[in-house]
Amino acid sequence: MWINRVFVLLAASGMIFFQLAAEEVHQWRGKDRSGMYNETGLLKKWAESGPGLVWESSQIGNGYGSPVITGNNIFINGEIDSTSYLFALDLAGKELWKSKIGPEWMLNYPGARTTPSVSGDLVYVTTGLGKVGCFETRTGRQKWSVDMISDLHGRNNRFGLSESVVVEGNSLFCMPGGADTNVVALDRLTGKIRWICKGLGQIPSHCSPLLVKLPQRNILVTFSQNALLGIDIKDGKLLWSHKQESVGDVHVNTPLYENGYIYYISGDGNGSVKLKLSEDGSGITQVWTNRRSDNCMGGFVKLGDYIYVASYERRYYYSLDANRGVVTDSLKFDHGTVNSADGMLYFYNERGQVGLVKPDGPKMEIVSSFKVTRGTKAHFAHPVISNGIMYIRHGQSLLAYSIKQNSN
């Protein structure tokens, strides 16, 4: 009967929708983009020469983006002869496929600067010149692409568009940074526009956004040129903004949300900041700021009541009391990225040194360190930890170090 067919059709649609909504997203800085990797059984101390290097792939093109690791695959983008490519590798570092994305940013710090996002059997990636591409994970076949500059009237910035896109449900969110098409939601299966948010009409600010999930609404939190924005992902409504009291336009770090509070750190803006998010997400109140904690692009993690981050200007790592916003300890280890796994901190500084650090509330103690000597160019890419392996991308090389206990 027809009603049975309608019922089956509805049920199937619901299942597809539910499936899309429930897809785990493998993305920049791990689950919730917090920089924390859910691992256990990792080494609490390394050998003097560092953890063992399991493999190196130096065929991934040049860049500063991190890899993203799914169950069986690694996805990473890199630039070769001014063109950005998306690579799929197996967990032994062997290339499975390579697909062209488009021209890459070469003006300064040339190379790929974003991390792919994987949802189900599709992987999404962007270039510094604004191409957003959707590819099949199995074959590398491009499903669709959109040019944020030419198709969405976007504008570029000082160091190239650097957004690792957020994917949620059946949507993908990106910031072309146009005066009117400032933040856009695309249908992630087709690339068609779902909504446009005018934001504050500012150019993008190199930020990879955070998605905050509340009972009433989900909020995309990101930076434009000199403001933090909170956008309702249902319809693109700009809920609130937090102005930066400086002329700097480099606000790279993904913010963090926890228990009703948003934390962000922008060395080019207000420094370290804690905001209280209203229960329905429609408003914010500033709790504290600390300009001394001024990280530029290394990210930060929060463990318990403390935030761990590198200071850019002073080239020390700091711990911050997250309740009061005061620096409680400093560690001389230049400046760079921060990640966490299995209760330890992982610092990777711009001199190429990787530090394994024991956090003890307000205090930090460096336990082991080694220097990354393989690869090329600047040490900017954020490490990724998955299944006992620490992946470090250094320019044209992806290095896989074994950090599992009983492995070295």
Partner: protein, 238 residues
């Protein structure tokens, strides 16, 4: 008692006067001794590698060869930049600004300045023979140090100032006006973290300021002496 006090006062005044009255030549002689310039004459090459912090941290390498070969390799925006002098010709590869990887001769003014930088022992060593002028401009405070201020006027009339520690005669600071994008600005370099390399003291940290604002910091990881260096390294690539 009165005699003893007077004698002590006379001794003290004499000593103080003598201490204040070092001439420029005497200050520089002590500076040469403190920095082992006699040992430096046996060194033919110096290779210094480290990092330069200027917003981000990038590698830097300085290679020097006696008498006047000098090469600076670093990155700007992670794009390689090189400046060098082979004793005759000064050239540079400034890809971030020129969008070209081709070496270009430096402008006349920049070349003259760079050739002075390429002087292996520094232009202040045997300055008289090199045609420069030197005068002592008294003492002053320089961060935590009391220093002698030596003014060196180069043969091209550019004035450089050397701030030499009154106690240990190490160089603590250098300053001069430079032309930056059509504007005259004060460039100051502070030298610290002195370490011995084969019996010669070298500053491993160099903090640079422009018009009083932090500009860059260079930190050397290694300084190697008498390494094998090819002369071709300093010649302008065709």
């Amino acid at each position: 008692m009165k005699t003893a006090i007077l004698a002590f006062a006379a001794f003290f005044l004499t000593f103080a006067t003598v201490a204040q009255e070092l001439t420029a030549d005497q200050v520089l002689e002590k500076y040469y001794q403190a920095n082992s310039f006699d040992k430096l004459q046996k060194i033919n090459t110096i290779v210094m590698t480290g990092v330069i912090f200027q917003s981000t941290t990038m590698p830097i390498k300085i290679t020097k060869m006696r008498p006047e070969r000098y090469r600076l390799d670093k990155s700007v925006g992670d794009i390689p930049v090189s400046q060098a002098c082979d004793g005759k010709e000064a050239w540079e590869i400034m890809t971030p600004w020129t969008q070209s990887e081709k070496a270009q001769p430096m402008s006349a003014g920049a070349a003259l300045d760079f050739r002075m930088r390429a002087d292996f022992d520094g232009i202040i060593y045997q300055w008289r023979d090199k045609g420069h002028q030197v005068e002592l401009n008294g003492r002053e405070k320089c961060r935590d140090y009391e220093v002698y201020k030596i003014k060196l006027t180069r043969t091209d009339s550019v004035a450089e100032y050397y701030y030499i520690d009154c106690k240990d005669f190490l160089l603590r600071k250098k300053s001069r006006n430079i032309n930056s994008r059509g504007k005259v600005v004060l460039n100051e370099s502070y030298f610290s973290d002195y370490k011995e390399v084969e019996g010669i003291l070298f500053p491993f940290t160099n903090d640079n300021f422009v018009d009083g604002q932090p500009y860059s910091t260079i930190e050397f990881d290694t300084i190697e002496l008498n390494q094998l260096v090819e002369v071709e390294l300093f010649k302008m690539p065709k």
